[in-house]
Symmetry: C2
DNA sequence: TTCATGGTATTATAATATGATACTTGAAGC
DNA sequence: GCTTCAAGTATCATATTATAATACCATGAA
């Protein structure tokens, strides 16, 4: 094993990254053997790599339980990311204004392959934990932001995406029917925004407007999540949507580099 | 070079991490040779490691400029971190309430060695970019949060910290005089909170209250940044402080694991 | 054109990571 | 209190793997 490609690929580094990826929402604190199991590496390899990550400050180690946890370095990586993403700098102040204005949670989402990722979040109301923290990746087809962005893609791409991109059922009302999703996306093509209901959590409504790229193709979106208990569809359209769209339109991704698409190293 | 310790230390992995650390606020997009220079590795090593990081999805590569940038994976690491930090989950809802109540930017800071790191931020007003994003690490002695936490440490530790921990001058009014800082910390011991003025940016006032740990020692703090143009010292004490302290006191770090302190692998 | 810089590809070499094994610790069960 | 087991730690001979020198190929400047 270990050989993925040759000579330009450093296996040990890749294995180390596998250890980092072993941590997620349901695996927050891992023992050596947990790490070994989850990464698929043997005990010795795990031992050496985990120790290296610990010495280098990427993993904290509880001196008594001997379990590993993500260190503060993981947050510093987000810090570095923010500076490198040209969109974030000009978007955050506008998101702040928007959230103050409408008093609801607003997010900046970006396309990341066939998923979206929440890059910036400004929670205003109490809500479930995952909705308040950045870096969450969700299947694009199941989110208002994903559909709003996809709607700006050329028709052939849209069709292919709706047919092939992944969907996961989060709630009983998560849409699994791809024809249904196609309808939602095509409506967004016409309307210039997307609305979704109860996709990630029940009684949650998402509204999203795309941030147009240089060629019209959106790689980001301004998104807003509200409760179906306090907002009707009509109120959202009349009170929320205009401000969300204004915000999205005021952001010009000058030169927006592609993200999430690999440039094949073999080219 | 390369040998740091033996047999339990995987050099290639450590070198790969050095490439990741080459990115920061002023180095957001690096070419192969930039990476080589900044990491101190030779051209070949940089090539192999950077390629590996790219293939593994940790670095995006602009197909035309051939420059590398942090990928979305860097945000996902923050996501995993949040789940692993036991404080964040119970703190965020309370920070949201607090920020809605006072209408000012509130932060959750944690001690990270001799620095503090902003773990969670809820910006309410337009401010400078670095103050709106998470993961920023600052010398503890130069921040209200750092001083508030330090004030909960045993006297001997406080003294040593004020004498030895690093200070960097950010503004003309950043306090460089350690006696002055000692005064501020000792005042915080008595008051149970810390206030600082113009340490990171001019006309900015920081107020912080410690979140007590199981043994009284605080490893986190609730912090609030306001403008000296709109708030007087007295107003802050009477209007802001009580609510900040209430919030901090309502958070019980049940069992708070140590962070940022290495448990010596040789032990 | 030539030169220089930066990125890419190849290769022989040995240094490095490997993983089997043995040792240590501590908690669970009897 | 003793045994057992699982999990963490340490060691070491081996060859697999990373290395770094070099050559190659673009691109842009002089």
């Amino acid at each position: 094993m270990t050989t993925k490609q040759n000579t330009l690929f450093v296996g040990s580094l890749a294995k180390g990254l596998r250890l980092l990826r072993a941590f997620d929402e349901s695996h927050t604190e891992l023992s050596l053997s947990d790490l070994a199991h989850r990464s698929g590496l043997d005990k010795s390899a795990t031992q050496r790599l985990a120790n290296t990550l610990h010495v280098e400050g990427m993993l904290d180690k509880d001196p008594v339980t001997r379990r590993f946890r993500p260190s503060h370095a993981w947050l510093q990586m987000a810090y570095a990311y923010y500076w490198s993403d040209p969109l974030v700098g000009q978007t955050i102040p506008k998101l702040i204004s928007l959230s103050q204005e409408i008093g609801e949670t607003v997010n900046l989402a970006e396309m990341s392959g066939d998923h979206i990722i929440y890059v910036s979040r400004l929670p205003c109301k109490r809500t479930y934990f995952a909705a308040t923290i950045i870096g969450r990746r969700l299947p694009a087809l199941s989110t208002s932001a994903g559909r709003a962005m996809l709607a700006t893609f050329p028709e052939a791409e849209r069709i292919a995406a709706v047919d092939n991109w992944p969907i996961i059922q989060f709630t009983p009302s998560t849409t699994l029917d791809r024809n249904n999703i196609r309808g939602s996306v095509e409506r967004a093509v016409h309307d210039g925004f997307a609305i979704s209901t109860g996709q990630m959590i029940l009684n949650e409504i998402g509204v999203a407007a795309p941030i147009a790229g240089h060629d019209g193709r959106a790689l980001a979106a301004v998104q807003c999540s509200v409760s179906a208990h306090t907002w009707t569809h009509e109120q959202i359209i009349s009170d929320l949507l205009p401000r969300i769209q204004d915000t999205a339109n005021s952001i010009s991704p000058s030169f927006q580099a592609q993200r999430g698409f690999y440039c094949d190293p073999a080219s």
